[in-house]
């Protein structure tokens, strides 16, 4: 909700600065941003009463002297004889109507009204709808204006099953389905109650006679309708959060006043339909309870003063104002006190948790992860949504992607996708694992199994011992046996013929159901976490390039110096390097060291020239060592 600073401070006699007002609004729990003297409020869903200038001003009355009375029409208003029946009073316990006719439409609006549309960039519609929108902004009560000339005969409100087309006043065609709260005129649906009126009875720029509906709808009767029909509706937003059931006369008198400020009124009549007497809620005064909830020693005088300034009537009980539908318990009262005192002003009390620690039987997986990590495996986490379906799949009713409407029964497909993703990024040694729940429909019992999936392909490693060794079944079995003892498992080779890849390395996969196995205690004990939060360096989406160099060390006495120099190499675009080969030529007493350098830029795809320029600088300190050469360079 957006509102103008200057409109809000009109209610506040002290005229605080926008910064001060902002601080107070935050203290009261009304999160917002400010831009060009406009508050963009993000109100919590329990505070429907604050979705207006008046609502926020009522809350701010705790800090400032305010004038919460808006200018209203004070003359006697004739009673309207309206052929109306409320057939669903539980959905709409109170509804009022104002019939209004003017002589001529105004040429222009007063500044306060014009500025609302201009500065907040609200679109104008027609005279009466514009006032309706302004009143909703000012007072928080939505109203709907029917063109009186377009209404004939009997009007009713009811909640009923209806399946019919409906065209809104914004000319949107929707298909009503299921139960809806609707207004009918001679059995024709003229409004989707609490959401949006219909086109057939909508006001136009020529409308001079209107029937204004002002209602309280039960929030549960309105909730979800605007989303169901994809209608953006400020009225629905407010009705869903609750409006003030006792505000109708004030709101409609305010409506007349604004009309009167712009046009000569020919005719004005009002009526109200109450299904039952509506009295304000009452709570006992229980200061001890409130202090116990907050851990404070607030006095009764402060307690009463805060509540009275928030509009509560304090007698022998706390009478809750009709606009505060969120206040139902002493905890709610405690929150009111805390908001006004300020959460940050409530002193902390040292907490001593008195409960007895119990043995923690929950299986801890940190040990398994640690073992796999030490074997060079990386943990991944995947979303559980999949296209794969079988007889035990659990299906989402409302998936984000209709192609992935099932929950995983295995981790395999996700891990294959992860592997291919990294292969496309030139990774030649890929070792991944995931520990996650999988989901099964077992004769309508929805079950979860915790599984470990391990996938590996490519080189065993990058060092000179492993560089030439490819991952095979024996490797994975060795890894598995070092993590788990005495488990019979089947390692699966994933065929590549159905995968979108040209790489030939064998892919090996294994998956075990962790719920089925008694894990080796040594691997499930919680290990101390020594957390180090190093700042992340954003990764490049550009391709990397490898360059291999074989350094020939003719004078083996320089060997240590060469290795030390290699381990310190730095260069532009050099992302990584490792020694993948080591060879001692006994006959010539020469040593060869193979180094792979990986180049990548964060800003572009590297050209050969980019890499050559970087290489020449990287090689310089190594080749300056006497007796060191790179054959071929």
């Amino acid at each position: 909700m957006k509102l103008l600073y200057k409109d809000l401070v009109k209610f506040i006699i002290d005229t605080p600065s926008i910064e001060e007002l902002s601080d107070k609004l935050f203290q009261l729990g009304h999160e917002h941003e400010i831009e060009n003297h406009i508050f963009d409020m993000e109100l919590t869903p329990n505070r429907g009463d604050c979705l207006s200038l008046l609502g926020l001003a009522r809350d701010l009355n705790t800090f400032y002297n305010t004038n919460l009375l808006v200018e209203t029409y004070e003359e006697k208003i004739d009673s309207l004889d309206l052929d109306f029946i409320n057939l669903s009073p539980n959905d709409c316990p109170k509804i009022s109507f104002l019939e209004l006719e003017i002589e001529d439409l105004p040429d222009k609006y007063h500044d306060y009204l014009e500025n609302y549309f201009k500065i907040l960039k609200v679109g104008k519609n027609n005279f009466f709808t514009d006032i309706s929108n302004y009143i909703s902004y000012e007072l928080g009560q939505p109203t709907h204006c029917f063109d009186r000339i377009k209404l004939n005969g009997h009007i009713s409100f009811e909640s009923k099953e209806c399946y019919s087309p409906f065209t809104t006043l914004l000319d949107t065609n929707i298909e009503l389905k299921g139960n809806n709260c609707i207004f009918l005129n001679n059995n024709e649906i003229i409004s989707l109650a609490g959401v949006m009126g219909g086109k057939s009875t909508a006001c136009t720029k020529d409308t001079k006679k209107v029937l204004i509906e002002c209602a309280y709808f039960n929030p549960e009767s309105i909730i979800g309708k605007s989303i169901k029909y994809n209608l953006h509706s400020d009225a629905a937003h407010k009705f869903e959060r609750g409006v003030d059931i006792n505000s109708h006369e004030m709101v409609l008198r305010r409506f007349i006043k604004i009309v009167e400020q712009h046009a000569k009124i020919k005719n004005c009549k009002i009526t109200s339909f109450n299904s039952k007497k509506i009295s304000n809620k009452e709570l006992p005064i229980n200061l001890d309870r409130v202090n116990a909830i907050l851990g404070t020693t607030i006095s009764i005088d402060v307690f009463k003063n805060i509540l009275e300034r928030l509009g509560f009537n304090i007698t022998s009980k706390i009478e809750v104002p009709s606009y505060r539908s969120d206040i139902i318990s002493q905890n709610d009262v405690a929150e009111e006190i805390a908001r006004v005192v300020g959460y940050d002003n409530i002193p902390s009390q040292t907490i001593v948790m008195s409960h007895t620690k119990k043995d923690n039987n929950k299986r801890n997986l940190i040990g398994i992860k640690s073992d796999l990590k030490n074997k060079g495996f990386y943990e991944v986490i995947n979303f559980p949504f999949t296209s794969i379906e079988n007889e035990s799949s659990i299906t989402l009713d409302n998936p984000l992607d209709s192609n992935k409407k099932n929950l995983r029964i295995t981790l395999k497909e996700s891990l294959i996708e992860n592997l291919l993703y990294n292969e496309r990024r030139q990774k030649d040694s890929i070792k991944l694992f995931e520990i996650s729940d999988t989901y099964f429909n077992n004769n309508n019992n929805l079950e979860q199994n915790l599984k470990l999936g391990i996938i590996a392909s490519g080189r065993v490693g990058h060092n000179y011992n492993n560089f030439s060794n490819k991952i095979d079944e024996a490797f994975l079995l060795d890894v598995f046996n070092s993590v788990f003892d005495d488990l019979d498992i089947a390692i699966e080779q994933i065929p590549r013929n159905n995968l979108d890849t040209k790489i030939k390395n064998n892919i090996f996969y294994l998956e075990i159901d962790l719920d089925k196995y008694q894990l080796n205690k040594a691997h499930v004990l919680n290990k101390e976490m020594d957390m180090e939060f190093r700042k992340y360096i954003p990764i490049s989406e550009f391709p990397s390039s490898n360059r291999d160099f074989s350094f020939l060390i003719a004078d083996y006495s320089k060997y240590d110096e060469v290795v030390e120099t290699i381990n310190k190499i730095k260069g532009m675009y050099l992302k990584d390097f490792f020694i993948f080969d080591f060879y001692k030529n006994e006959k010539n007493e020469e040593i060869k060291i193979g180094v792979r350098m990986i180049f990548q830029s964060n800003g572009k795809t590297l050209s050969d020239d980019d890499i050559k320029e970087s290489i020449s600088k990287i090689l310089e300190p190594i080749l300056s060592i006497e007796g060191v050469s790179v054959p071929g360079i």
């Binding site: 549960e220 907050l294 409960h355 929950k362 030490n374 060079g376 040593i591």
Partner: protein
């Protein structure tokens, strides 16, 4: 001078892998809470409306229960939990105060954009005893935030709304660029929730809090895009050894 025969291959360092950074942060937070005295509890990701909403005082009319916010499964018979709070409910139903539970895990919301994912992780804690109050909650939250960040960090409590706590608060920390960043939600357990769990709310009160693991991880590691966590990119994962 050493002989040629004494030349040894270059020393190899282990080629280590890494736990996922989200799990590292989750484990860090859980270890922290266990040190405070919380017992770790776990629960299902596929939940009933009763445990995910009703028992937590989230009424039928609450927007969170709509199809556009929650993933429902098997003809709305169940749902993917939208928070870890039902774990606390299940635990409270099987115990009596004093109790202190912490839970962590995946939660799901029907959301997918640059700043929201359909799956993310939460860590939650609940403590119920006689005379638990808001001032104590503040003390605990300060201790948690100081342990995650440092004791110099500036903290702000502001009123908020959660159906399962009353009073409710959101807690912000002041970032280096002078902006307040939301870190966690907390509050005094709504007596309705205690009564739902057969705990006498006239005798006992509780405090509860919840943190978004991705949020904490992004702040601690200075990661700008939440989607990076779930690309499974080895260049990304390699930085969290």
């Amino acid at each position: 001078m050493s002989s040629f025969n004494n030349i040894n291959p270059p020393v190899l360092s282990d080629e280590l892998g890494a736990s996922h950074p989200i799990n590292q942060v989750k484990d860090f937070l859980m270890n922290l809470l266990k040190d405070f005295g919380f017992n770790e509890v776990d629960g299902p990701e596929i939940e009933s409306e009763e445990f995910n909403f009703d028992m937590l005082n989230i009424k039928k009319s609450h927007p969170a229960r709509q199809m556009h916010d929650t993933f429902y499964v098997q003809n709305k018979s169940n749902l993917l939990r939208t928070h870890t709070s039902p774990v606390q409910i299940r635990s409270m139903l099987h115990s009596s105060p004093p109790l202190a539970y912490a839970s962590a895990g995946k939660v799901y919301r029907k959301d997918d954009d640059a700043t929201h994912l359909p799956m993310f992780h939460q860590v939650e804690g609940i403590y119920v005893d006689s005379e638990v109050n808001f001032a104590q909650l503040k003390d605990l939250i300060h201790k948690i935030i100081y342990a995650i960040f440092d004791e110099e960090v500036q903290i702000r409590f502001r009123p908020s709304y959660f159906p399962f706590t009353e009073p409710s608060a959101e807690v912000d920390i002041l970032s280096e660029n002078g902006k307040w960043l939301e870190i966690l939600g907390c509050g005094i357990v709504n007596p309705i929730v205690l009564d739902n769990c057969n705990i006498d709310s006239n005798k006992y009160s509780g405090l509860a809090f919840g943190l978004g693991v991705e949020r904490i991880a992004m702040l601690k590691y200075d990661i700008k895009d939440i989607r990076d966590f779930y690309k499974s990119n080895l260049d990304f994962l390699n930085q969290f050894k």
